[in-house]
């Protein structure tokens, strides 16, 4: 769901801070203004947080018992197993899309129309659909036309259909971003097109695209929460339905779930940023 088809720039390019060009180091007057602004902002924020806390406290949502229930080892394990299910679906779909995406990209770049046309059709078709629909589709279709399968496979099918198209475009951008001299040199030393691709172009292109591919895998992991649509027991579904067996912790459960997802995704993004800096120029 999250995917914005970003132009294939290096992550580090967007991350690097250039704010210093826009303004001087704040002087005494500017520092005073910043201080006043900060104080005002903090006061407004504190008022809001205060309202929230009072309101929640009045209905007992801040009772320690409720939080310690949600943060108890059993519940955390229950949610953790859900998160593992997210990882499981994302890992299977991720592996499939990495392979499928590569073949689709090669198909799209192929000189033979037999390969190119279906690849382009696949990519454009599945990129245009909302991911939820692509997960619902096998879920509704399989029981009618084929047979019922485990919920994880509906999630995997939907994620794979959508992300294979996205991955294909990332691979393609990587291949096209290579200097033409690379393939020309490969042909000049007598390599065939296949050899040039396999030995010269792909190793460089993929290496260049590793950070973007990994970022897309994180998005895929976050999108596995859409398994809620097909009753796949992942962490969000578990966090959300916890209220049905313990109605007093609906609020606490969803907050803890959100924080778990934030921590998982944030850690992974940081890792990718590290890798990006290492791979980068």
């Amino acid at each position: 769901m999250t995917t914005v088809d970003t132009p294939p720039t290096r992550l580090s390019e967007t991350v690097r801070h250039r704010a210093t060009v826009l303004h001087d180091v704040p002087g005494p007057r500017a520092r005073r203004r910043i201080l006043i602004g900060t104080v005002l902002f903090v006061v407004v924020l504190a008022a809001f947080v205060g309202y929230v806390v009072v309101r929640l406290g009045r209905y007992g949502h801040l009772e320690q018992a409720r939080w310690s229930y949600v943060l108890s080892p059993e519940i955390l394990r229950y949610l953790g197993e859900g998160l593992l299910n997210n990882v499981r679906a994302a890992a299977v779909a991720g592996a499939l899309t990495l392979v499928l995406g590569l073949f689709l990209a090669l198909g799209r770049l192929s000189r033979r129309a037999v390969l190119r046309v279906p690849a382009v059709a696949w990519i454009e078709f599945f990129r245009g659909f909302p991911l939820v629909l692509l997960i619902l589709f096998p879920y509704l279709l399989f029981p009618v036309y084929l047979t019922r399968i485990a919920a994880i496979w509906y999630v995997v099918i939907g994620l794979t259909l959508y992300n294979s198209a996205v991955m294909a475009e990332i691979y393609r951008a990587g291949i096209l971003s290579l200097d033409r001299g690379q393939s020309e040199a490969a042909y000049a030393v007598g390599m065939t097109r296949g050899q040039a691709l396999r030995l010269v172009i792909l190793p460089q292109a993929i290496r260049r695209m590793v950070p973007l591919l990994l970022t897309q895998l994180i998005i895929l992991f976050k999108d596995s929460t859409l398994g809620v649509a097909v009753t796949y027991p992942e962490a969000l579904r578990r966090g959300e339905t916890m209220g049905s067996f313990e109605p007093r912790v609906v609020f606490q459960a969803i907050i803890v779930t959100a924080v778990i997802f934030f921590l998982a995704s944030f850690t992974l993004s940081r890792l990718v940023a590290l890798i990006d800096r290492r791979v980068g120029r």
Partner: protein, 221 residues
């Protein structure tokens, strides 16, 4: 089932789809308008000279970029009532989509600002322009051009993201598709084709508009 039966069935379900289509369109347009405003404010915060503003902007963006959209939607529908706010699923979805897309808009704008040649901002500063003058007269007008394509893809992604709101009960296109498909499971294929067409009706013209803008922005450079 013959072809004419299928056609009649689709025709019968057209009013349902039309209602869903309108909800999807309104949700997408309203969230986009909101997200542009929120995103611009955030972007200014993230490049401002005030370190606390930068930190606040960063925290916001990190939170909304790392928590999945569906989780945010559930947080909204489960938590807003606890704060005494009676909100419909549509209102919750609108709020969340504005905040979520706002983070993406912010990053797109920031990337656009960073893409403006450093010499431009430096020249403005050496003329004595303040930070806000620098942004208003020199940096943002130039950034606006590079930012059109990413903002366009953000809108298209947003249209697709509105479908996630079906899972908290917003009766938009995907929701209506699910209802119809559950009523008549044999018709999943034509229904999917129909709902696909409705999404394309929004995304294809959007893509066209973006490419038009893109060309104009290029020429006027």
């Amino acid at each position: 089932m013959g072809g004419s039966d299928m056609a009649r069935y689709l025709l019968d379900s057209l009013p349902v789809f039309w209602g869903g289509f309108r909800t999807t369109l309104i949700l997408a347009l309203a969230s986009y308008a909101g997200a542009l405003i929120v995103g611009t404010i955030l972007a200014v915060m993230r490049i401002s000279p005030a370190a606390p503003a930068r930190a606040a902007g960063l925290a916001y963006v990190e939170w909304f970029r790392n928590v999945p959209l569906l989780v945010l939607l559930f947080v909204a529908i489960l938590c807003l009532p606890k704060l005494g706010l009676r909100v419909s699923p549509f209102q919750s979805a609108l709020l969340v989509l504005v905040m979520y897309t706002g983070a993406q808009v912010c990053e797109a704008l920031r990337a656009g600002v960073n893409a403006v040649a450093p010499g431009q901002a430096e020249a403005a500063r050496s003329l004595g322009l303040t930070f806000s003058q620098n942004l208003r007269y020199v940096v943002l007008p130039q950034a606006a051009r590079t930012v059109v394509p990413p903002l366009g893809s953000i809108f298209i992604a947003l249209v697709k993201n509105t479908s996630v709101a079906s899972l908290i009960g917003v009766t938009e296109l995907t929701f209506q598709f699910g209802e119809l498909a559950r009523d008549t499971p044999k018709q999943v294929m034509p229904l999917l084709a129909a709902v696909g067409v409705f999404y394309l009706v929004i995304t294809i013209p959007a893509g066209y508009v973006v490419s038009r803008f893109e060309r104009r922005a290029l020429i006027s450079r």
